[in-house]
């Protein structure tokens, strides 16, 4: 005969297992709508119909940013890449301060007719998880270990506790 405490404990464990399973199944089932944005590869594979609004996210591809003005409004074209596919984006409006080549972005908009380009109405900047002072960033650049133009910095273990001088000295080239 189980004590009442033990029985309550087993009931809680059983309920916990059931609940976790249910939630896990639900999260897997709604996987696509829980993602905040689609990657260029997903867009290339699924071909969302022209005019259907969705979010496209990825890295601003290096050397693809062209800025100008059209009818007095700032106007930018660039490509968003995830390393596997790349989508051209057209955006009219003011860009967030963090926008640059190699930066993560999430854009809201729709594909133009004929799947040619993504017409963005909003551009949001997505920064990475790495935080460093400017002198450390400069040291990584000088050591040839990182160019922010091409994406996120190298493994944090290589720089997170080294002085800028040490990082520069560790030039592997």
């Amino acid at each position: 005969m189980m004590s009442r405490k033990k029985r309550r404990l087993w009931i809680v464990i059983a309920c916990g297992l059931g609940l976790s399973t249910a939630v896990a199944l639900m999260l897997v089932a709604f996987r696509s709508s829980l993602s905040f944005f689609m990657s260029p590869q997903q867009v290339a594979a699924r071909h969302p119909p022209a005019g259907r609004v969705f979010r496209l996210g990825g890295i601003v591809q290096a050397n693809t940013v062209v800025m100008g003005t059209r009818d007095g409004a700032p106007y930018t074209t660039f490509r968003i890449t995830d390393g596997r596919a790349s989508i051209p984006v057209v955006y009219t409006g003011v860009l967030p301060g963090l926008f640059r080549q190699g930066q993560g972005v999430v854009t809201i908009g729709a594909m133009s007719r004929g799947d040619r380009e993504f017409l963005a109405s909003t551009v949001l900047a997505k920064h990475g998880a790495d935080y460093m002072p400017r002198d450390v960033e400069m040291a990584l650049r000088k050591a040839g270990k990182w160019n922010p133009k091409f994406g996120p910095p190298p493994n944090a273990g290589a720089w997170d506790d080294k002085s800028p001088a040490q990082i520069e000295a560790s030039n592997n080239g």
């Binding site: 301060g97 997505k126 935080y131």
Partner: protein, 270 residues
């Protein structure tokens, strides 16, 4: 602390005997079930923890806001992390503590765990609100928006609502025991949200950044920014503990005062 009549201690002792476990293995769990013993042990500690929290928070925040270097790309706005990140960690671990109290309440009917869950709720909700507000203020200059419905932000908003729901439910019944039982179930069910918050940035694409500090990998925050972050985190935890203990302590006294008033009313009624 007002020294209550001897009858009150007798009642306490009786309550402790009722709550005492039949098996020896659970004895440690019930050592602190006696509210009188808890008060004697914890009350003198509260001012010490409170002052320590104030000092450690000040050191961490002044270091972070005045002396730590700014991030190379985010600039000065990144300093809000010295509030946002500790608040988020305390909010989540505060809920974990609340869930553990709920488990102690449901399985072992631990009387102190009920009071602890009741009193930790508002403190945790406060830290969650702080995390949401600072995150929103941080999002505007960096992302370009105060709010998006991505998985991380939404799951933390759910955490906030879980806290609010727990606070409301545990106080919603005339018989406090009913409130304790119902709120403990909510507290345990809500715990499923905690792993979702932590892993939301890996399981799904999100606008929120990934975790900078993990148990497995190196810290992605440079040391001169990491130290003040860890110090203010310690300060925030101390503040959570101090506020929770102070609330629990006054909650116990409230219950005792109510019991005394009830007893007096019964005596004068008969």
């Amino acid at each position: 602390m007002d020294r209550s009549p001897a009858t009150d201690y007798a009642a306490d002792a009786q309550a402790a005997m009722i709550a005492a476990p039949t098996s020896k293995s659970g004895a440690w769990l019930h050592r602190f079930a006696n509210p009188g013993r808890f008060q004697r042990l914890v009350q003198p500690l509260i001012p010490w923890i409170g002052w320590a929290a104030l000092i450690v928070c000040s050191v961490g925040l002044v270091w972070g806001f005045a002396f730590a270097p700014a991030d190379w790309q985010q600039g000065i706005a990144s300093r809000i992390m010295y509030v946002h990140v500790p608040a988020a960690w305390v909010a989540m671990n505060g809920y974990a503590a609340l869930a553990i109290c709920s488990l102690l309440s449901i399985v072992w009917r631990h009387p102190l765990a009920d009071i602890a869950a009741k009193e930790m709720g508002p403190v945790g909700a406060g830290f969650t609100g702080l995390c949401l507000i600072t995150g929103s203020l941080w999002g505007k200059p960096e992302w370009g928006t105060y709010w998006v419905w991505d998985a991380r932000l939404t799951s933390v908003l759910i955490l906030f609502f879980l806290y609010l729901g727990h606070m409301a439910l545990i106080r919603a019944f005339d018989n406090p025991q009913h409130g304790y039982r119902a709120a403990a179930i909510l507290g345990l069910v809500g715990a499923i949200n905690l792993p979702i918050i932590v892993f939301s940035v890996y399981w799904w694409n999100s606008l929120h950044q990934g975790n900078s500090i993990t148990l497995t990998g190196p810290s992605k925050i440079y040391v001169t920014m990491l130290y003040p972050l860890l110090i203010s985190t310690l300060g925030f935890y101390l503040a959570f503990i101090a506020m929770s203990l102070a609330r629990i302590s006054s909650g116990i006294m409230e219950n005792r005062a109510r019991a005394l008033l009830l007893a007096r009313a019964e005596r004068s009624g008969s």
